[in-house]
């Protein structure tokens, strides 16, 4: 399948090699009944190797989730088999229910109804901290 075979949909390009499956799962792509293609280890001039995901439908994509996994991914929007937009994504300021706080002393470890909220506190180093206990996701 190449881009020509998508009528209306997306090409998620410049995914770091090996990350396609994680994105497939995070975006719940298994639940779609349209064509979805995962290409792993494609050759790339810029990146050496990369992954690509093609989705043959204009679904609602959570760009924050995507940006959190890898802010360097590009999203090509295809309509009527034409590339109409290249969306640049960025690190989201806040992510909700994407990652879980690992701090066993955090209130979210006992109150399961609370949203898991993380806030970007250091953009340069991509540090997200729990909105409740301020534990870094990278600790």
């Amino acid at each position: 399948m190449n881009i020509d075979s998508i009528k209306n949909g997306y090409v998620l390009d410049h995914i770091k090699a090996g990350k396609a499956m994680e994105i497939y799962e995070q975006l719940n792509l298994a639940n779609l009944d349209c064509q979805v293609a995962l290409i792993t280890n494609a050759k790339s001039k810029k990146m050496g190797r990369k992954d690509i995901i093609k989705i043959d439908r204009l679904i609602d994509i959570d760009l924050d989730k995507l940006g959190f996994i890898d802010p360097n991914i590009t999203v090509d929007v295809v309509k009527e088999e034409k590339l109409i937009e290249k969306k640049k994504i960025d690190l989201p300021e806040k992510i909700v229910n994407v990652a879980k706080c690992k701090n066993p002393r955090c209130i979210t470890s006992v109150e399961k109804d609370l949203d898991q909220i993380f806030v970007l506190t250091d953009k340069e180093n991509q540090i997200y901290r729990c909105h409740y206990c301020e534990t870094s996701l990278k600790d």
Binding site: R105, I107, E111, I127, H131, Y132, C133
Partner: protein
Amino acid sequence: MKHLIDIKDFSVEEINDLIKVAKNIIKSPDKYSHKCDGKILATLFFEPSTRTRLSFESAMLRLGGNVLGFSEASSSSVSKGESVADTIHVVGGYSDVIAMRHPKEGAPFVASVKSSVPIINAGDGGHNHPTQTLTDLLTISQEKGRLDNLTIGLCGDLKFGRTVHSLINAMLRYKNIKFVLISPDELKLPEYMIKVLESSGVEYIETNDIEEYMGDLDILYMTRVQKERFFNEQDYIRLKDYYILNLDKLKNAKKDLCIMHPLPRVNEISTDVDDDPRAAYFRQAEYGVYIRMALIMYMLGVK
């Protein structure tokens, strides 16, 4: 509605105003003894901390108000699995202001989202303890007469001791502050706090020798090494008595040094220091009541 969850919730002006009121209370306590007549403070302590709870209750009683509450989760509905939000929803109807301590970090924030009355965080796990920081600021201001132009030694557990992190954050807002960070290598100030110091441009020195810079210090803030922070008993035993302040170690210290400790102490300060006029830690505990009086008035909108 104003809540105090994190010391950063208050501006420097708000903190300075609280300190001013607290100093007035110290001078003329009688003027304040009916400020909160008819008001109720709820002290919801989901984990025991007798000292902090009594300090809050004393503060409210000295303002003429009343107190109710519980001192541990097992005596409350929490043991039956009630959520923080539900508990607060109910208790908000019984009281005018709530002081809450909880073993889980972020619990007071969760409470504040749903609360119909002001929430004061009286400590959430090892996370925030803003009334301790306010107490520390009043102590420094009262003992030294200023909050700027100070060299502050912080000694002991600088890694997990968030009282120290919070004090650093609060003091960075004042001019010409220098820090001497005294700790064993295993308990050094964490990287992200070093970054805070670096980006503020403040002067700081790290050392593991308590005596090395003793003569430069205006404040010496001692902390306790907390057992629950260690996975391994041996590490705790090795580090808990790493620093024991005694009169001998103070021989090069300034005559007007101010020695602080959030209490309770274990072995960090030898009892022979207690009678030295520079030992401010028992006065510090008393200042805690006055700053909490000022805080309760502020939260209730009482002038």
